[in-house]
Amino acid sequence: EAAVTQSPRNKVAVTGGKVTLSCNQTNNHNNMYWYRQDTGHGLRLIHYSYGAGSTEKGDIPDGYKASRPSQENFSLILELATPSQTSVYFCASGDYAGYSGNTLYFGEGSRLIVV
C-alpha cells in the first residue's frame, strides 16, 4: 500500500524561527506536493515537485521554500515562521497518468502552531 510519512506530526514554533516539515514516500512516485489546510479554505497547494532536484510554486508559495533532494524526500521550509502559518500541512505523492488521472496519496498531516 502507498505510504507517505510526515514528520513532525505536531510542532510549536516561535515567530521568526525556522521550521522544516519533512515528508518521505515509499511509492516511487515522481510527483510530490505540499498543501496546507485551514477551516474554510480546503486544501491549498504550496509547492510541488516533479522529481528529485525540482521544485515548483503552487498557489500560495509566499513564505515557504521546498526542497526535493531525492525521489523519496520532500521538505517544506519556513525560514521565518509567522502566526499566519499556523495550520495543518499535508504532503502527498502521485504519478500523473495522463488520461488515467492523477491519484494522490496523502500523509497524516503535520499540525504547526506558531506563537
Partner: protein
C-alpha cells in the same frame, strides 16, 4: 484556475439512510476524483471517474459524471457512522489536482 466545488458545505443523515454529495466544475476535465478525509487524517481517494465514464461504483459508493452539465455526484447507500468525514471532489489540471472546499457529512446514530 477554477475550482471544482461541492454544492453543500455540510450534510447530516441518520445511519442507514442514503446521501448524495454534489460537485460542479467550470472547465473541461479528463477525470474527476472523490476523496474522503476523516478527522485527523489525510484525504484518501474513493473513486476516480474519467470523462468518458458516466458512472463508477466502489462498494456502497457510486459516483456519476455528467460532462454536459459539468457536474458529478457521490452517493453513499446504507450509511454508517464511520462514513462521517469531509468529502472532496477534485479535478485534474496538468500535474495537479484542483480541489473543492469539501462537504462535511455527519452520520447520526
Amino acid at each position: 484556475s477554477q475550482l471544482a466545488e461541492e454544492n453543500s458545505w455540510a450534510l447530516s443523515v441518520h445511519e442507514g439512510e442514503s446521501v448524495t454529495v454534489n460537485c460542479s466544475y467550470k472547465t473541461s476535465i479528463t477525470a474527476l476524483q472523490w476523496y474522503r478525509q476523516k478527522s485527523g487524517k489525510g484525504p484518501a481517494q474513493l473513486i476516480l471517474i474519467r470523462s468518458n465514464e458516466r458512472e463508477k461504483r466502489n462498494g456502497r459508493l457510486r459516483a456519476t459524471l455528467d460532462t454536459s452539465s459539468q457536474s458529478s455526484s457521490l452517493s453513499i447507500t446504507a450509511t454508517r457512522c464511520e462514513d462521517t468525514a469531509v468529502y472532496f471532489c477534485a479535478r485534474d489540471s496538468n500535474y495537479q489536482l484542483i480541489w473543492g472546499s469539501g462537504t462535511k457529512l455527519i452520520i447520526k446514530p
